[in-house]
């Protein structure tokens, strides 16, 4: 009786499972199972495999193989590689799946009445718990319970896979995320693999990658996956076609798909399934006409063609206008192409005589097009312009017009975000184009990332230091608390604090963050922003050095310049 019931339940489950299998998308259904099926470059697979082998080994090197970051555009086979290797090398993958958000979480706050902090567990809390548990406990389905507690068990290795990251663009969350990872890496032997898909250069990769890099140079390895090459993609698609029995999709359609997806294998397989289903349906009525399918294919697979930030800036700052001579390195064909584009541009209507100095040739850059293809918002765009404009200005007057425009647009929003000027992007772009000389002299300009964020971070640290000093003061007398506002401490107290440093009663160290400034010549320490972030710092010889305070200073060298100050 019991047995029979069990059997029936089992059958139901089996049928449900089979149905689910049937209904799965091809992407999941025909996911690669062996390395041969994987469309990723062999070398890349080998890199990851070597890393994993080292991580699981008992060699001392495994200590440095705790954190792997896989980056690359979506559909480059990052996760698939891991899954295949997990089958091949026999380790289990513990994956973080952010739970279904309750409506409460979704709004970020609960109704005042039902709130209560104990009920509310943020996604980040859950994540931290997950990581702590995953690091400490083994799966209950472990075959070998005797060995499960010790880290040197060779049979059942595991990695933690993080694909669904918390919202790390938020400063607080990011810090918690980093420290959770850091804690894990220090304590646990289970390696963590973070998969980051970068959709264009939006800075998210750096946020994940650079953070861990900063605190554990040795522990983190990152591997970048490139878009899948055409040949790999074609053969992978053909394999899927055979396995799915979708012979209706012709080779020419296949080529079309491959061309349109720009190396995204997931999109390619989706498109393949889509065309196969359509062709199958159409085929029952009228065979052999896949023209419309072809046409819709493009709209289906086309990725948002975001301009890379680098090119966006180049377009604006090089300020190409109608009639500009083609660049020296341009081929004849490119030159004629340019002329053709120019002939399509309409001339601007002539201006009044008194306004003539504002006349410019028609720009080859259209602000509308720029706006629709930009990967960043107006505010960040303005910061990038501000960081980079000076080398593009031939004279001070150009700079003046340009920065005045930036300042004007910035000051023309309201107090609140919703009052902000909706045309800010256009105004920034057009104003910049108008102000720059034409043509812009080429003097080997480089693009830098805005320093403002770094400055903000340092200002934040300094203001924490101010608060510490204020706390120290008001511990002595509550009257201090009202006298010393933040500005007063930052502006006036520095002198006394430094004098006190030499005396007996030491104020909390770290006040140097706001009280000490040394004047150094030189121009900033911005990082070059390239298409590929390498993190190289080109101009840093005269990077302002901030002296460490108190305990920290004792272990460091004094430099020549410092000695006069001591």
């Amino acid at each position: 009786m019991v047995c029979d019931w069990d059997h029936r339940v089992f059958c139901h489950l089996l049928i449900a499972w089979a149905a689910a299998q049937e209904n799965r998308l091809w992407v999941d259904k025909y996911a690669p199972e062996t390395e041969v099926d994987l469309a990723v470059h062999k070398q890349k697979i080998e890199d990851v495999r070597r890393w994993l082998r080292e991580a699981f080994s008992t060699q001392p090197i495994s200590k440095y193989r705790r954190l792997l970051v896989l980056t690359g555009p979506s559909g480059a086979g990052k996760t698939a590689t891991l899954r295949v290797l997990s089958g091949e090398m026999g380790f289990s993958v513990i994956e973080w799946i952010s739970a279904q958000q309750s409506p409460l979480d979704a709004y970020g706050y609960a109704d005042e009445n039902i709130s209560g902090d104990d009920l509310y567990e943020s996604a980040m809390d859950k994540f931290e718990t997950f990581l702590a548990r995953a690091g400490n406990y083994r799966s209950v389905f472990n075959n070998n319970p005797a060995q499960s507690s010790s880290s040197d068990s060779p049979t059942q290795n595991a990695v933690i896979l993080l694909e669904d990251l918390p919202n790390i663009l938020h400063e607080g969350i990011r810090q918690r995320f980093h420290s959770a990872i850091h804690r894990h890496v220090q304590r646990s032997t289970i390696p963590v693999i973070i998969v980051v898909s970068d959709a264009g250069v939006r800075g998210e990769t750096e946020e994940v990658g650079a953070g861990p890099l900063r605190w554990s140079r040795n522990n983190e390895v990152s591997a970048r996956f490139n878009p899948i090459a055409v040949t790999f993609l074609t053969s992978a698609l053909k394999r899927v076609r055979i396995r799915a029995g979708a012979a209706v999709v012709s080779d020419s359609v296949l080529t079309n798909i491959v061309e349109s997806v720009s190396g995204d294998i997931r999109a390619a397989i989706m498109a393949l399934e889509f065309t196969a289903v359509r062709a199958g349906a159409a085929g029952s009525q009228k065979r052999g006409r896949n023209g419309p399918a072809n046409a819709s294919l493009e709209s289906l697979t086309r990725k948002e063609n975001a301009l890379v930030l680098f090119h966006l800036l180049g377009k604006v700052l090089y300020n190409k206008r109608k009639g500009d001579p083609p660049p020296n390195h341009a081929t004849k064909r490119e030159a004629t192409n340019l002329r053709k584009i120019d002939s399509k541009l309409k001339d601007e209507p002539p201006l009044q005589a008194w306004f003539n100095h504002e006349a410019r040739a028609t720009s080859r850059v259209s602000a509308d097009e720029l706006y629709s293809s930009t990967p960043i918002d107006a505010s960040l765009f303005s910061l990038y312009i501000h960081q980079n404009y000076t080398p593009f200005c031939a004279t001070l007057e150009h700079s003046d017009a340009l920065i005045d425009n930036l300042s004007w647009v910035d000051a023309n929003g309201g107090d609140n975000w919703y009052e902000q000027n909706p045309y800010a992007f256009h105004l920034y772009a057009l104003g910049t184009l108008h102000a720059l000389p034409t043509p812009v002299p080429h003097v080997g300009q480089k693009f830098y990332k805005p320093e403002l964020f770094d400055v903000g971070k340092r200002a934040h640290e300094a203001s924490n230091a101010i608060d510490r000093v204020r706390g120290w003061l008001s511990d002595r007398s509550p009257e201090n608390a009202s006298t010393w506002t933040r500005t007063a401490v930052a502006l006036e107290l520095g002198v006394v604090l430094r004098a006190k440093d030499m005396g007996m009663q030491k104020p909390p160290h770290g006040h140097g963050l706001f009280s000490e400034m040394r004047f150094v010549h030189g121009a900033g320490n911005a990082e070059v922003a390239g298409e590929r972030e390498t993190g190289g710092v080109p101009v840093s010889e005269e990077e302002p050095k901030r002296r460490l305070d108190g305990d920290d200073a004792q272990g460091t060298w004094l430099e020549d310049d410092d000695i006069e100050d001591w």
Binding site: D400, A411, R470, E479, T487, V495, G522
Partner: protein, 361 residues
């Protein structure tokens, strides 16, 4: 005790060293039964807070000096928690809402509502109302000021406000009109020297600085008494005997700003703009408010440039300072002003070259 500023601060209106007329007026106000909302304004270090504290003492007696610090937690509508330190006695409460930036409205509303809805329980209290002191009232957001305005009308029975600000220009007119304006001007040089001699005489008993030394310190402080006393304190620590020569330590940022001003006057080119920008970033990352930066640098530039340019330099500083308040990205406006000044300075010399001889008959 270690802080001269606090230690030798006058506690009663009678003990104040300067602006005696004002002290008299405050005294008679406090003794009358009809105490208004007040707005103290004037440059920093002129003694606004000292006068407020003295007035409170006049109003309520020595009980106001029993201070305690409370850390209060406020919740924004988006459930962000704000920690605000509040200094209070049985008779008054003092807060600096601008410290929480854009959320100041929340703090103002919560505190004022709370104060306004509670009656004074101390029967022996001289007045029925409690006093709320709001520091840095001029950096309150519009929203917060609007919130303040409504509460000022509504809850006068239980509460009086004393606002403290550097200038009235950033307060909305309805608030200004609801307050009694009290201007506390910066003291004169002699006044500052007097204060310094008083403090020094008490603090450094054996070897107090002579009149000349005090004058040097006072001159450096430019009417800011707090700064003067701090300088004295630093000087005492570095040079306990006050032996010649007296060098008054300046805050680093001030020297820094002045050198930035020099940079602007020395060279005018896009490359120099980059260098100056790096300096501004350094200043901003040390929590120096951008308005202070533009003011200090502009002062220096005005000192250095030709007579004909001084007005222009200040004119543009005012314009960009205003934009800075309205806009978000302070560095844009600082830099725009810098470039503008550079271009004015450059043109001044450039134009001399051009028009020099040819144009005149």
């Amino acid at each position: 005790m270690d802080n001269l500023v606090i230690q030798y601060r006058p506690r009663k209106l009678d003990e104040l060293h300067y602006h005696h007329g004002l002290s008299e007026r405050l005294k008679s106000l406090a003794s009358s039964g009809d105490f208004p909302h007040m707005l103290f304004y004037g440059p920093s270090g002129a003694g606004k807070k000292t006068r407020i504290a003295c007035t409170l003492r006049e109003l309520f007696g020595p009980g106001v000096e029993k201070l305690k610090i409370d850390q209060r937690v406020f919740m924004t509508p988006s459930r962000r928690k704000l920690d605000v330190n509040v200094v209070q006695s049985n008779y008054h409460i003092e807060l600096t809402p601008s410290e929480v930036g854009n959320y100041d409205r929340v703090v103002i509303q919560e505190i004022l509502k709370e104060i306004a809805q509670t009656q004074q329980v101390d029967i022996s209290a001289r007045h029925r109302f409690k006093v709320v002191i709001i520091n840095e009232a001029d950096s309150l957001t519009r929203d917060a000021q609007a919130a303040l305005r409504r509460t000022m009308e509504k809850y006068t029975t239980n509460m009086r406000l004393i606002l403290c600000a550097n200038s009235t220009s950033r307060l909305i007119a309805p608030i200004r009109s609801r307050c009694l304006l009290v201007r506390v001007p910066a003291p004169s040089m002699e006044d500052v020297v007097g204060v310094l001699e008083y403090v020094a005489g008490r603090a450094c008993r054996g070897n107090s600085p002579d009149h000349a030394a005090c004058t040097v310190v006072a001159k450096e402080a430019a009417g800011n008494v707090r700064k003067a006393i701090l300088a004295l304190e630093a000087l005492r620590m570095q040079n306990p005997l006050f032996s010649e020569p007296i060098t008054v330590a300046k805050p680093d940022w001030e020297t820094y700003c002045q050198r930035v001003g020099d940079m602007i006057v020395q060279e005018q080119s896009p490359a120099r703009v980059m260098e100056v920008r790096a300096k501004y970033y350094e200043l901003l990352s040390h929590c120096i408010p951008p308005t202070v930066i533009i003011k200090t640098v502009a002062d220096r530039v005005v000192d250095k440039v030709d007579e004909n340019l001084k007005a222009d330099v200040m004119h543009w500083a005012a314009i960009y300072e205003n934009r800075m308040r309205v806009g978000n990205k302070k560095i844009f406006h600082l830099e725009a002003w810098t470039v503008k000044v550079m271009s004015i300075v450059k043109h001044f010399f450039y134009d001399i070259d051009l028009t020099g001889f040819d144009d005149y008959p």
